[in-house]
Amino acid sequence: MKVAVITFPGSNCDDDVVHAVTAVLECDVAKIWHLDSLGERKDLIVLPGGFSYGDYLRSGAMAARSPIMKEVREHVRKGGLLLGICNGFQVLTEAGLLPGVLLANRRPGFICRPCTIRVERTDTPFTGAFTEGQVVNFPIAHSEGRYYLPSSDLDVIESEGRVLFRYCSFSGTTGDEFNPNGAAHHIAGLLSKERNILGLMPHPERTSEAILGCDDGALFWKSIRSWVERR
C-alpha cells in the first residue's frame, strides 16, 4: 500500500501519522511538503492534524487553497482514498471536499484528552476491521471541532449514511454530555458521498500502539490496508 502524508506549513501531526502507519502496517509512507508533487499514484493520502498556517483566519482555510490540493482533488476523482484528521478535516471542509464547517467548540478553547467514539458502519474503506457499534478511543485535540451544517443538509448526509463516527460514552450511548465540542448529531467522522474521503476530528494515530496505553487506532489503519488490498 502506498501512503502519502502532506505537510502544510504548520502541520504538526504529520510525523505522528507517518510513524503510526509505519509501525502498524510496516509499509512505506511518504511525507510530502505542500510545495512538492505527490509523485507516483498513492492509495491513501492523509492530511494530518496541526495548525496549518497557524490556524489564522479560519482553521484549514489557507491550506485548502494551497497548490498541492489540485493533485489531491485529482487523486480522489480517480477514486483514491483521502483522510483528513483534525486540522485535516478542517482543510477538507474548507476545500469543499466535504460539506459543512468546523466551528469553535461549544465551550471555547482547546481541549486535549482521550475520547470515545462509536463506529457507525463497517462497510467502508476505513472501518472494515471494526464491528458495527464498536466503541473506540481516539483522543481529541482541537479548539474548532464543532461540526456544523444547516439542518436540511444534515438530514441528507444522515440519509446517505455518511456519518462514520459519533462521539459517545464508554458504553456507546450518544448524548450532549459525551459530545466534547457540540458537534451536530455528535459527528466525529464524516464520509464523502463516494465514501473515499473521510474527515475525522479525533486522532487515531495517537492510540495506535500499546505503549501509548491503547491501540484502537491500529484497527483503523488495518481496515484501510485490507480495503486497498481487496481492491
Binding site: 487553497r65 465551550r107 471555547p108
Partner: protein, 85 residues
C-alpha cells in the same frame, strides 16, 4: 491609486456564536453590565491595494473574499473601499 479596503465579516444569523456567548457571560460575570444583551464576535480585515480605480478594487476584494477570506456557509461580509492616495 492606493486604496484601503475594509471588510467586516460576521457570523450569519442562526449560526451559534460560542465565542460571543462566552464573552457575554464573562462581561455579565464582571458586574455592572446588566444592560448588555448579547455580543457577537466577527472579524475585521483591512487590505491595502493599488489599482487603477475603485471598480477594480471592488472586484479584487470580492474575489479575495470568495477565494479565501469568507466562508459563505457561515459568514457574511460587508466591504467598504476608501481611497488613500
Amino acid at each position: 491609486m492606493e486604496y484601503l479596503v475594509k471588510i467586516t465579516i460576521t457570523l450569519k444569523q442562526g449560526v451559534l456564536d460560542t465565542q460571543g456567548k462566552a464573552v457575554t457571560a464573562s462581561l455579565h460575570g464582571m458586574g455592572g453590565y446588566e444592560a448588555l444583551q448579547e455580543v457577537r464576535v466577527g472579524r475585521f480585515l483591512e487590505l491595502r491595494l493599488s489599482a487603477k480605480d475603485r471598480g477594480t478594487v471592488l472586484t479584487l476584494a470580492e474575489g479575495m473574499c470568495d477565494d479565501l477570506l469568507v466562508n459563505d456557509l457561515i459568514e457574511e461580509r460587508s466591504i467598504e473601499v476608501v481611497e488613500i492616495r
